[in-house]
């Protein structure tokens, strides 16, 4: 990090070598690599799998009912005779999609807010961070639940709401990083060249704090996916017949006495995906040598 900041003229070459170094370190971390491979595999299956299946995720076969895993239906079928594999993969699209979209919302708000607060400093910064402090002390899951109950479980609202909850920590991290970087000489140089604030923040400061942002983004995705599944589990998130991992786990938990496979497969896939995301996030943190994150 420091090498880049101290010598801005050589930033392109130095930058690529920083990322290259990080990549080499990441590659040595076996857990992170395994997580990455698994994630790519899951993402590809969720995207492509349903296209090659002869069953639709809503396609019911009431005569079949719940059947255990077999040659016809690899993961079995649910009580309405729907193919569990296709429903799990389609649900994965929704869960991963919500995870990425909400993380993007959180990332955008958090980075802009944190960067502005850190850059302007002084009283305005103090006020902006007080607002974050106050928002930290609000019972947010409760607000999200209220929102979902009242405003009709709309999936777009779902990830906007989740994103609006998750940006606070990102704002704090970005702010502290910006405060460290803005005192460096190359920012002084940019200022003396007469560049505007916006240009300095987005072109000069942000590229230098990408490391922590990337790490925290990777760790936000599992948190967001958990929240989505939590809401769906309470019946407040994604609505049937649409499927998501939270919906499937909820259905599975209701019927696990008779048809345990309905719980076991979606739950296992969901947990493994979250585990992989955490492995990759931890690996990235070590590779980029970021110490300012949460734990």
């Amino acid at each position: 990090m420091e090498a880049v900041a101290a010598n801005p003229a050589a930033a392109p070459e130095q930058g690529s070598s920083l990322w290259h170094d990080a990549w080499l370190r990441l590659r040595k971390n076996r857990l992170a690599v395994a997580g990455l491979v698994f994630l790519l595999f899951v993402a590809a299956s969720c995207l492509l799998g349903p296209l090659f299946s002869s069953y639709g995720y809503e396609e019911q076969r009431l005569d079949l009912g719940a059947s255990p895993p077999g040659a016809q239906h690899w993961l079995g079928t649910d009580t309405l005779g729907r193919d569990l594999l296709v429903r799990t993969l389609t649900g994965g699209r929704v869960s991963l999609g919500v995870g990425l979209a909400a993380t993007f919302v959180a990332l955008t708000i958090g980075v802009v807010y944190g960067a502005v607060a850190g850059f302007v400093g002084g009283k305005r910064d103090a006020f902006m961070m007080r607002v974050v402090d106050i928002m930290y002390s609000l019972p947010f899951p409760i607000f999200v639940i209220l929102l979902m109950v009242f405003f009709g479980r709309n999936i777009i609202l779902l990830f906007v709401a989740i994103g609006a909850v998750e940006w606070l920590t990102m704002a704090r991290i970005v702010r502290s990083q910006v405060m460290a970087v803005k005192r460096m000489e190359f920012i002084e140089a940019a200022r003396s060249l007469g560049y505007g604030r916006r240009r300095i923040i987005f072109r000069h400061i942000l590229p230098n704090i990408l490391g922590p942002v990337i790490v925290y983004t990777t760790l936000t995705i599992p948190a967001v996916m958990l929240l989505e599944a939590f809401l769906s589990f309470l019946g407040l998130g994604v609505q049937p017949p649409m499927s998501s991992w939270g919906v499937l786990i909820k259905d599975g938990a209701e019927k696990m006495e008779e048809f345990p496979w309905l719980l076991v497969f979606p739950a296992a896939l969901f947990s493994l995906t979250l585990l992989s995301l955490n492995f990759v996030g931890d690996g990235l943190r070590d590779a980029l040598d970021v110490r300012s994150s949460k734990d």
Binding site: L138, I142, I145, A229, G252, A253, M256, A267, F270, L274
Partner: protein, 306 residues
Amino acid sequence: MLRFITSRLLQSLLALFAVITATFFMIRFVPGGPFTAEKAVTPEILRNLEAHYGLDKPLWRQYADYLGSLAQGDLGPSFKYPNRTVNEIIGDKLPVSAELGALAMAFALVLGVTLGTLAAVFRNTWIDYTASGFGLLGISVPTFVVGPLLVLGCAIHLGWFNASGWYGPSDRVLPTLVLGLAYAAPISRLTRGGMLEVLGQDFIRTARAKGASEWRVVTRHALRGGLLPVVSYLGPAVAGILTGSFVIETIFQIPGIGREFVNSAFNRDYTLVLGTVILYAVLIMALNLVVDVVQAWLNPKVRLEG
């Protein structure tokens, strides 16, 4: 120190006021009312009902009335449970959630701190890997997966416990385990990190050089500093234990405040929603305040920054 506490207190009150106002107006702008679900309510009865609960007054008037009675500690009557006040309902349900939360937190602290300390002391041995693996697993596998799986295994297949309910002491075991495990994992990670940092410092070497036993070094010297990150985590964690218990209370059908809250939102029971939101907000803010103070007490550096 007193100034520190006063400023935090004022800040919390401001936030609380914001929460109450936002919630009050948000639930009123939502389609549907507390009496729309009831069958065959003639317009006349509906008017009477609304007049009885003061819902026919202008909104700002209702808001002022609500704040007035709130100042006296009265959360108003419930709209869905006739003849019951919100205070009574909370008085019924809160002890259940509090008991579950306290049991789970105690379990999580004992397990998490023990595992985290062991992992730090025996760094890079199989003990560390096992404990750290458990930490990652606990963070990644959510309560609504662990809960049903444990029920499936321990209650349905082995028949050790009841699958749901909240009657005898044995009914406490599974919910406590599930809720506690979810918090033991991050606590063990934080303890490990904090202890590793402290164990590398000079005063620990001094203590060792003095001839203090390893046990004494760890428990008397290192833990105090090593637990700082855990303390700052506890505020949000206790709050999380309350909100996390929505899921646990649903899975195990426990008559706690979390389930009541979700139901009240579905029922548009305005006063009960507001009452529970206020309860949660006050709890969270009070806990954060306590955490801030404890942290300042444990670490003078934080006191100066506050």
